[in-house]
């Protein structure tokens, strides 16, 4: 058992700035409430700035709290704040009841998430001011965005699993509302519904895990569970790990619950950037990292996390190669990158810090690229098909340059943030298991291919857009956020300077001696860069050097066809889950019509018929009634006699 190595969650009550932690959640929640209560029309003039302001306020508070946390001793970097008792079933008659407090846990892990959510979230809020300018319902959009930020902050600040669950459902709701924001489009409404339903499947895991915690420990707080996890049986711990893995799969679009993410791109682009790239979809990684005391105690659960991560990182990458819709290509890439994070989180103490590191850098460069894609769509009259783009680098210089920063970062160009984070994950994977390492490395090569393809088809090659489309650069309110995120994408690697992020997170996830990978780290890095270079070169020769047809060619290989169909994820869900469900329902309808209805109707008919006969007795003649009274009385007398004589 490794229990002794895993830090126990034991927050000390905070003072000073830490007394205001609740305000970080409250600010966006208040913003959302004001806009939703007052309504769309009355808040039209100021809703967007209210939305930006509340998130900016939260960001400032997070920043101050972050520096305050950095200022205190490493072993005391766990601040708790008890807000109120959420519910209590404990009483004198039921001493073993459950008490759940609504509390905040602020530690290095939540501190980083706060900065990511409020920082990137704030930037995306600013971008949305421009992007949604011509939308009639912009105030409502900002209300939903604020709602999302508040829920996500609840998720990462809660000090118990039930609090996490509250935030978990909150972000799910916000995601649903925002994917279906343009609900007049059938595709958007359907996509929202799909995301909601698939997420519910994952939530079953979350609910089961929480219930199992209550049944086993009688508590859901990180504090108590992390201290007593050693008392639970191995099977229980593994079940807990698998339940939370299912939850993570749903929220983070990991195989087998990946199918909703590509459709989720129906939402407005800032939503895709904020929720379906930078923050919400990483909640699964947060959950696994936060539950490190569970996964460290269960080898099978950890292996399951690694398998899910590896499968998803290849799955998403393959899908990304075949998509012509720029947002869907990026969505496949998101899926794949989160696969990397899951893989790292599954590697245990050696990987948690790198999972979070990649999560942060991915948050920067993927948000950057999604917003860049939004800027391109803005220029191309909302066309998302990359086959209709081409040669945009001259016309959209700012978008192109910022997008290029994100591109270099995601493929792992030496020096850029993605290079540092992905390199570390692949290195950790190689140290753990060669097969996993090779899969992760292959994923890096495929990433380089599809991102180069996306880059070439959008900004280079010949122009393929229609007559009458006049690409133009976006306003400053959209390019400003792009520049900020591009800078973060380039410089994100500084977090690794002197192993800072590893040291910073060690109070949460523990510390492990560095194991040397089987081949020297520098050689490994060189191999990774070479693989990436091969991916880029293949893309260059197959796409950059050739004519890109405006229509997607149909005589393509089986692999391409499969990737275009999301590797048949939807077909599988439909065949295995939906159709049998339909059949079952049809069978039940037949049963209902032919058995249950017949029985119910038959009962009614029978009692009607009997009544028709019985009412003949009511003939209105007094003498008949008198006779029946006499008969009745005679019967009673006979009965009495029979009883008395026997």
């Amino acid at each position: 058992m490794l229990t002794s190595d895993i830090p126990v969650v034991h927050p000390a009550a905070g003072t000073g700035i830490f007394d205001l932690l609740w305000l970080i959640i409250a600010l966006p929640a208040i913003g959302a409430t004001i806009i939703l209560v007052l309504g769309n029309e009355r808040t039209k003039s100021y809703a967007h700035w209210l939305g930006v302001g509340t998130v900016a306020g939260s960001f400032l508070l997070s920043l101050i709290a972050f520096f305050s946390l950095a200022g205190i001793d490493e072993h005391e970097r766990q601040v708790g704040q008890h807000l109120w008792t959420w519910f209590e079933t404990q009483s004198s008659t039921n001493p073993g009841g459950l008490t759940v407090d609504f509390g905040i846990l602020y530690d290095p892990l939540s501190a980083l998430f706060l900065l990511l959510i409020t920082g990137v979230g704030g930037i995306i809020h600013v971008y949305s001011v421009g992007y949604m300018e011509h939308d009639e319902r912009r105030p409502r959009f900002f209300a939903y965005l604020n709602l999302f930020v508040a829920a996500m902050l609840t998720l990462v600040l809660a000090d118990n699993y039930l609090g996490v669950f509250l935030g978990w459902e909150g972000v799910g709701l916000a995601s649903y509302l925002l994917i279906g924001f343009w609900q007049h489009k059938t595709s958007a409404a359907v996509a929202a519904k799909k995301a909601f339903v698939v997420n519910r499947v994952g939530d079953i895991g979350m609910a089961l895990g929480t219930m199992l915690l209550i049944a086993t420990f009688g508590s859901v707080s990180f504090d108590y569970v992390s201290e007593h996890i050693g008392e639970a049986s191995d099977t229980t711990v593994t079940l807990l790990g698998l339940a939370f893995l299912l939850a993570a799969c749903g929220k983070s679009a990991q195989v087998p619950l990946q199918s909703w993410l590509l459709d989720a791109m129906e939402g407005p682009t800032p939503v895709s950037a904020l929720i379906h790239a930078a923050t919400m979809v990483t909640a699964g990684v947060y959950l696994v990292t936060r539950s490190n005391f569970i996964y460290e105690n269960s080898q099978p659960a950890q292996t399951a996390v690694v398998i899910v991560g590896v499968v998803t990182l290849l799955w998403g990458a393959v899908i990304g190669c075949a998509k012509d819709d720029i947002k869907k290509a990026l969505a496949g890439s998101t899926m794949s990158q989160i696969g990397y994070m899951m893989l790292a989180a599954g590697l245990g103490v050696a990987g948690y810090a790198f999972a979070i590191f990649h999560l942060l850098t991915h948050g920067f460069f993927k948000a950057n690229m999604f917003l860049g894609a939004g800027s391109v769509m803005h220029a191309m009259d909302d066309d998302v098909d990359m086959r209709h783009y081409g040669a945009l680098q001259k016309l959209l210089p700012v978008t192109f340059l910022t997008f290029a920063m994100g591109y270099l970062s995601i493929i792992g160009f030496p020096g850029f943030s993605g290079f540092w984070s992905k390199d570390k994950i692949i290195e950790a994977a190689f140290t753990e298991n060669t097969v996993v390492g090779i899969a992760a490395m292959a994923g890096a090569g495929i990433t380089a291919f599809y991102m180069t393809r996306l880059m070439l088809m959008t900004f280079f090659t010949k122009k393929r857009w229609e007559e009458g489309v006049h690409p133009h650069e976006s306003p400053w309110v959209m390019t400003g956020p792009l520049i900020a995120l591009a800078a973060l994408s380039v410089l994100g690697g500084f977090l690794l300077l002197g192993d800072w992020i590893v040291e910073w997170l060690s109070p949460v996830v523990g510390h492990v001696e560095h194991h040397e990978p089987p081949i020297p780290a520098l050689a490994l890095t060189a191999i990774i860069v070479a693989v990436v270079a091969v991916g880029v070169a293949i893309a260059w020769f197959t796409i950059g050097k050739q004519e890109v047809p405006r229509e997607a060619p149909q005589n393509v290989s089986f692999v391409t066809r499969a990737a275009r169909a999301d590797l048949y994820g939807d077909a599988l869900n439909e065949a295995v889950l939906m159709r049998p469900g339909d059949r079952l329902v049809e069978g039940l309808i037949v049963l209902d019509d032919n058995v249950i209805d017949v029985f119910v109707d038959g009962t009614a008919l029978a009692s009607g018929g009997v009544s028709l006969g019985l009412r003949r007795l009511q003939n209105g003649f007094v003498r008949t009634y008198a006779l029946s009274i006499l008969g009745g009385a005679a019967l009673v007398v006979l009965a009495l006699l029979a009883v008395n004589l026997s």
Partner: protein, 99 residues
């Protein structure tokens, strides 16, 4: 005292009354038959009171008389009303309350 003859007389009177209620059509006659049954009961009650040597039966008989008196008041009023509206005192004619 020998109670037998009184009880037999009471039973005969009751049977006559019950038969009359069942076979006669005229409301007045039916009414009289009801009274006959009540008084047959009274006779039985008084007889048993005498046999047992206490007053319980006699008290019950007084109650029956009071009820019978009240019944006469209400019953005759109903019969009168029916006769005025339908020009008939036959109980079979008043058979509106049926299916």
């Amino acid at each position: 005292m020998e109670a037998g003859p009184f009880i037999v007389l009471s039973a005969i009177l009751f049977t006559i009354g019950a038969t009359g209620v069942l076979v006669r059509r005229n409301a007045i006659v039916v009414f009289m038959c009801v009274e006959l049954m009540l008084n047959a009961c009274n006779l039985a009650l008084v007889t048993f009171a005498r046999v047992h040597g206490n007053l319980d039966g006699q008290v019950a008989a007084f109650f029956v008389m009071v009820v019978a008196a009240a019944e006469v008041v209400v019953g005759l009023a109903i019969i009168m009303t029916i006769f005025r509206t339908r020009r008939s005192a036959s109980v079979d004619d008043a058979s509106l309350l049926r299916f």
